[in-house]
Subunit: 615 residues, 2 copies
Amino acid sequence: MKSRQLVEIAQQLRVDSVRAAAAAGSGHPTSSMSAADLMAVLLARHLRYDFERPAHPANDRFVLSKGHASPLLYAAYKAVGAINETELMTFRRLGSRLEGHPTPRRLPWVETATGSLGQGLPVGVGIALAGKRLDRVGYRVWVLCGDSELAEGSIWEAAEHAAYEHLDNLTAIVDVNRLGQRGPTRHGHDLDAYARRFQAFGWHTIEVDGHDMDAVDRAYGEALSTVGQPTVILARTLKGKGVAAAQDREGLHGKPLKDADEAIAELGGVHDVRVEVQPPPAARMLHAVRTGHLDLPRYELGDEVATRDAFGQALAALGTARGDIVALDGEVSDSTRSEFFAKEHPDRFFECYIAEQQLVAAAVGLAARGWVPYASTFAAFLTRAHDFVRMASVSGSGINLIGSHAGVAIGQDGPSQMGLEDLAMFRALHDSTVLYPCDANQTAHLVAAMAGCEGIRYLRTSRGASPVVYGPNEEFPIGGSKVLRVSAQDRLTLVAAGATVHEALTAADRLAEDGIPVQVIDLYSVKPVDRRTLREAAEHTGCLITVEDHREEGGLGDAVLDAFLDGRPMPRLVRLAVRTMPGSASPAEQLHAAGIDAEAIAVSAKLLVEHAVVR
Amino acid sequence: MKSRQLVEIAQQLRVDSVRAAAAAGSGHPTSSMSAADLMAVLLARHLRYDFERPAHPANDRFVLSKGHASPLLYAAYKAVGAINETELMTFRRLGSRLEGHPTPRRLPWVETATGSLGQGLPVGVGIALAGKRLDRVGYRVWVLCGDSELAEGSIWEAAEHAAYEHLDNLTAIVDVNRLGQRGPTRHGHDLDAYARRFQAFGWHTIEVDGHDMDAVDRAYGEALSTVGQPTVILARTLKGKGVAAAQDREGLHGKPLKDADEAIAELGGVHDVRVEVQPPPAARMLHAVRTGHLDLPRYELGDEVATRDAFGQALAALGTARGDIVALDGEVSDSTRSEFFAKEHPDRFFECYIAEQQLVAAAVGLAARGWVPYASTFAAFLTRAHDFVRMASVSGSGINLIGSHAGVAIGQDGPSQMGLEDLAMFRALHDSTVLYPCDANQTAHLVAAMAGCEGIRYLRTSRGASPVVYGPNEEFPIGGSKVLRVSAQDRLTLVAAGATVHEALTAADRLAEDGIPVQVIDLYSVKPVDRRTLREAAEHTGCLITVEDHREEGGLGDAVLDAFLDGRPMPRLVRLAVRTMPGSASPAEQLHAAGIDAEAIAVSAKLLVEHAVVR
């Protein structure tokens, strides 16, 4: 394809971006126009992709990190024939696949949902890791970034990770149009400022005029021939390029052009040039991965085992049975126990160091390539990656996240290390699964089962050892629960999970001695919740006390209510949870101070039985 | 003080770190020992601080970003006479001020809670900003970082911000002991690797042997004399320095030394040298700031005004009335409307660009210096700073956070831009305040009122215009609610907040036409919640329908339950919330698709009245 044709394609991408935004009455045409030349050259000269077979193992992968430039992406889809004119004009309408920001839920060519800035590159790193270390297919990962988003720390977590892993299959293209949403970026058109930073992190850098087709073409070629390090192409561009009234002007972010017809005329009018994208080379199918017998660890009743240990051992076993299981950790694998997997399957373990955003993003990238990732760190530190988990949920990404060191039960380390808000965070995600086992056998079974769920799956583990209360052959369906104590005379029901199950059992025994029999439910599946069992308990005892090592909002107590929100009569409810700011103390002292130990449970139960109210 | 004495002090800091951890049976002595020489020289030669007057305006500020090295900090407090031997030995015990990781809740010399890595430097940037731009006192900010935490993206958000603002009052000291928790860091003792990165971001860098007292002394001097840019001192150190059995060895992170007595002997035995820290220079008292009459904006009943507009206008007015109000934004001030404040009070506005972790950290730093920060971005993007907000809560920091573009009501931009989990995130924080106004006058009053709350305060605003339903003189106490419709015949109660208040009012009108009168409560204070009014409504109507533009977990629906969790009989409850993954669509289409518009409310209400259940 000649340069003149490239220019024509680029103008068509601009025109179609302007038209789509005009039809929608919203969107980001100016942010699309700055990158149109970069996109045209990539499509016509360097991308290897079969749009009819988006799952082709050798397809290159393209990530639009600046997700608001979706008009450009959809214009490109039209130029390659993946969508037609009619669909392009549905941009941002109800039911359209062409959302304001692209998502793989709806479009097969999108690798990951973007729109929260600074996430595309970290996920691209995850895909490139899959390509380099697992798939071993020569696909390249191209990530188109904005300049504004380089202010996000997650970009530098990605920069560090990519260079350290020598990801020469990864190319970042930065559309340096110098204007953010509100006004100029920190560094404007100072490409050197960005180049210095990327070079310092170990990247090959290329500075280029992003509107000079030949220069852009050469830059892509240089990226392709760079070995041993990732490349960033820093492209000087103009926002709104090609339309004088919009070009390089402030105040036009995220708005359709004022006079679309005039702009289209200025850009050379509507065209329908078809771009032929190079097909990928032939490649063997991926993921003809080994699947064998799952030999989960087995623990004896009464043994004392930490659920984090059971997680690590079960994950290692799962990795032995299934070749598609991979694990990642945020430099705390000795604490989370993912080190058990790392030791047995070092080729499928990814050390992400203390960079939780990149940890989750790498998991999303690996999942996008069909791998089944388990990413672990302290439950408290998963809050660091909340926005990445949120966007993974928008993507419909199937990732397993494990948060260790849950609750005040960790003891002396104090509140900075305690996962106390994690259940709330994970429950509030769309279609998430939230699991909180209390013993080792239960943990092992849930670690294996979570791989089969849709969407974000979260498993919460505990630091300290706890007694094994279930036999190794017990079953623990997702969405289920276990009734651990029940009698016809039960006066109320204790609902617990994880660490508080053991406290509830102790409390139940003491209450029974005092002539107050109570039911005990282990609600290990916090979401989805076992509505049937909870309703039966409500009918049976009329009153439920929930006990959790978590803040009172958004956790187990709120989860129980899911069983009763259909307007039917409610049981009486009492919620015991962590209401104070803990300091340092032993695990037992912490549970006592928080009012969630056996004693506190027994006191509340008695109050409720004797006085009908607790506070 | 002579070098020999410095050595003695450093050994004392090591010995006391070892002793404290040994007494506690846990803690991080080896991470303390690597930085003991750095700390000794700082205390004895460069820090200017009056430990008897921690609030002294000219005190330098010290932040232990590697918060797990708390034994070193507490050993230093003992060396300067701030705590005594007896207190040192309470380390990590129940009720002790000396927690596993330091917090300002308990210790007056601590600026911010640390223990989640990568947070001390960003908060230090906030304090340095206060010093440079607001306090205008010549204090310096010293931040002691670990090398592992340089992998956190938030460090590079801080690096970017500090250099861009020319914070030459800020010195980062990196204890490069090459060993993380699990094993070696990415760059080991390669100081140049870190220097290249910081230099690229615009910092002055000094590489030094962290155990050479004279070299460290010179490095501090060089940092003090560096003008126009922040300085980072990269100090090559050995973890466990001074004890052969521990020095530079893997596998000893976060554990007391095996033979403490032997280690103490090797370090020269127990000493009690007192370090005289230079006092700060005399300085005028800070915050003799102007407080004048608050002239809040007033809106006419029936006008259509977006609550984000009212926020911006009210914040600007508050800034005029109070000189201690400052505002920060993440490069979206044109959307959040904090630009109204920026235009009127540019000297007190801080542009943080697209770096939400640094945005919140800067607010925490400014609050630590007595300023009252309002930090704003899209509600969705505050999830990016979840761990920072969590740690701010551990600090007891008084910061105001504003999340705009709440819910599906934003319309076409789609799920990546929709705050749908923010109420859950903020409700689950200890002692937080969560506000969600539905009209402009209510917003204005709440913006002013939130400044007076303790802890984390969150205000949620909406993108689109909504009718003004309250007069400008109405009062909106925190913890209150408004009953907007009530009659003796009410069949049930609709509980709404923000965008859904208007839907609930429309539904109530339609239901009334159909002969089904219903009560409507505007629950603008989501936390604390108005228990009394909710209980009265329950007694009055027996049945509540909650309606929220938020995920069903952790938001308004769960908040309502706080009124009924004392074991007393519960009303029947139905929760309408966003259960699907939205795409792009108009605001009205979004509310309809999510089942939270007037029509959906009316349908649910009728089902409940006629059939007693909804699903």
